[in-house]
Amino acid sequence: MGAGTHPAGDNTMKTQNQRAWFFVLPVLLLVAFNALIPMMTVVNYSVQETFGNNVFFWEGLRWFEQLLNSDRFHAALGRQFLFTGIILAIEIPLGIIIALAMPRQGIWVPVCLVLMALPMLIPWNVVGAMWNIFTLPDIGLLGYLMNHTLGINYDMTQDPVAAWVTIVTMDVWHWTSLVVLLCYAGLVSIPDAYYQAAKIDGASNWSVFRYIQLPKMKQVLTIAILLRFMDSFNIYTEPFVLTGGGPGNSTTFLSIDLVKIALGQFDLGPAAAMSLIYFAITLLVSWLFYTLMTKDDGK
């Protein structure tokens, strides 16, 4: 974890040294260039109206009021939370189960790790394109199996439920390995002595999990949940390539809606206001998760 997250005792080990700022300066400059200037642009747009030609009018907080009362935004936000909720509910338990079942040593460990990490290293639009090809109703492997072998009518360009199931399956395919790798790293760090002690005490598999493995995984699980929350909440490319937000608006998540407004309709003011609210929600929820999951650490 980071410097900002150590329990208080840890910090007394460090020496006070203001010159450390020189070490941080390059990072600070690079990130500030990339974060502060664009953020100021967004704030600037969010309170103005433009009709092109670089002419702007002061609008105050009108865009924010409009957005917070708009059904379109509420719907996109609702879909986004539903999606992220489903993703976390599936990927976290599944990741833990797979990590627990993985071999601890031997030649199969690197094979498993390499194969599992593979989906994470495929560019996001290729992931979308790959699942598109995979699910085409008559010529894709999954589409063909569903429609012709199992006889289930499956076409995600027509059916919102099929589109949702496909996007969720795609994300589980894409990202569960991240949870597996993190949990696995937590598990291999448990010394054998713990298991032997548990065996002597006659502990059940469940108590080994509950009192030895789960506490050891807590830190990596915090990271896994945070990363999965942020990334699934910001998801754009994969659903955009796979469904384009459709059918209708059924898979238009926040990012997709935002890009539609900003680059499609060129409504810079409303898009900027939406960006700020979107970012604020991500920050707030991440902070809540983080505080909840680490509140016992200081004790």
Binding site: A3, T15, N34, A129, A185
Partner: protein
Amino acid sequence: MKKRSLIPILYILFLMLPIYWLIAMSFKTTNEILGGFSLFPQTFTLDNYRTIFTTPDWYWGYINSILYVSINTVISVSVALPAAYAFSRYRFLGDKQLFFWLLTNRMAPAAVFALPFFQLYSSVGLFDTHIAVALAHCLFNIPLAVWILEGFMSGVPKELDETAYVDGYSFPRFFVTIFLPAIKAGVGVAAFFCFMFSWVELLLAKTLTAVEAKPIAATMTKTASSAGYELGLLAAAGTLTIIPGAIVIYFVRNYIAKGFALGRV
């Protein structure tokens, strides 16, 4: 074989199915793909790959992507190293706030920054260059690299630093010859993640380029929409984008598991 080893096997099978399908498609002719369903390529063809390796538009896409990803990885890791050292060893004014602020940038949706980034990089004259994409990806890669490296560095006892100073090492010499080798697993893991997130990102890379530095992913999107339904070609291009990732994982395979456990990532 125990019953529980079935779980990873089934999971890996599930992971491999769509990848198999992509690879199988890339060896089929367009006629065969559109003609109907076939589990294996009936008329095995390398034409799709031949097209990619002989069309500058295609292979430059790969070169561009690899260029900006490499530049980004080098920049991110090299500026993150001293910063992570400062965070793990010293207390200074505003350190906690700064660390948290860095992490918040990892949370920003790329869609939020697309348009402002376009304007920013156009105004400084870097639009459509490799360095623009590499710098833009620093936004989320530097915080991650600092986070990972700080974890690894805090795992190295402070006595190592003190002993080196007593022995008369200067700071740069200590850092390069003693400290870096002690955290080389961390550097590997950090570089791996920087490579990964820069390689897979498309939205910003596409926004910041037009012709000269266009990433492979953008070439694919263009083909998908303009050339009609060339699924075989698209599948071949997709298959080729998996290879750099596979090579990188192979090199860090031993660090991934050990690395996560060592560093408090």
